[in-house]
Amino acid sequence: MEYKNYMKLEFHSKSQNEAFARVVVAAFAAQLDPTIEEISDIKTAVSEAVTNAIIHGYDDKNELVTIICRINDNELEIIVEDKGKGIEDIGKAREPLYTSKPELERSGMGFTVMETFMDTVEVNSEMGKGTKISMTKKFKSLDED
């Protein structure tokens, strides 16, 4: 049977909202009946994308971050979007260990983490317009029943 669901969340780009955003996506994903490990994968990926929007996209200024989640059968799509400064060189940004803020002791592993825990990660960005990260993950759980 086809199963679809959708939600959109908008929140202030404050660091305390990172944990909130992570819980919202995980709670939505609960409908796909994941394991605790799968939930933890999703939360990790969302944390990285949201942290990037807050500290890189908006340079810690208070603006809005948007998350859209779509469920299509057993696949979850997560989009994290900011209207911030954008990424100049996406290829370089995605390289492991690359960070434009070494002074903040960033690890430069955010994109690598997203790629590790999600099945697909797509980055769209325009300088001065913002950045959109689209990630998908398929859940085994629903197949098995």
């Binding site: 944990a19 992570r22 819980v23 995980a26 709670a27 994903a29 609960a30 409908q31 009946d33 994941p34 394991t35 605790i36 490990e37 939930i39 933890s40 939360k43 759980s141």
Partner: protein
């Protein structure tokens, strides 16, 4: 009197953060039992059913403790 007031207040105002952590630890216990029983990782609905809570509530509670996965993973050095 201050002592009694503090006692009453503390007992009437248990913070939700504490009850979330309690739920999370219970969820991890149930997860462990299910792994031992079925030799596979349970899905959230199986845990939620035993806790008699909606799945969403269990997911929320689990976020109250740090990294529930690594807590239960053997550590190799």
């Amino acid at each position: 009197i201050g002592e009694i007031r503090r006692y009453l207040r503390d007992n009437n105002s248990i913070r939700v953060s504490r009850s979330l952590r309690d739920t999370a630890y219970k969820a991890l216990q149930i997860r462990d039992q299910l792994i031992n029983k079925n030799s596979k990782e349970p899905v959230i609905s199986e845990i939620a059913e035993q806790l008699n809570l909606p799945r969403e509530e269990v997911v929320f509670a689990l976020d109250a403790i740090q990294d529930p996965v690594s807590l239960f993973e053997p550590i190799y050095h």
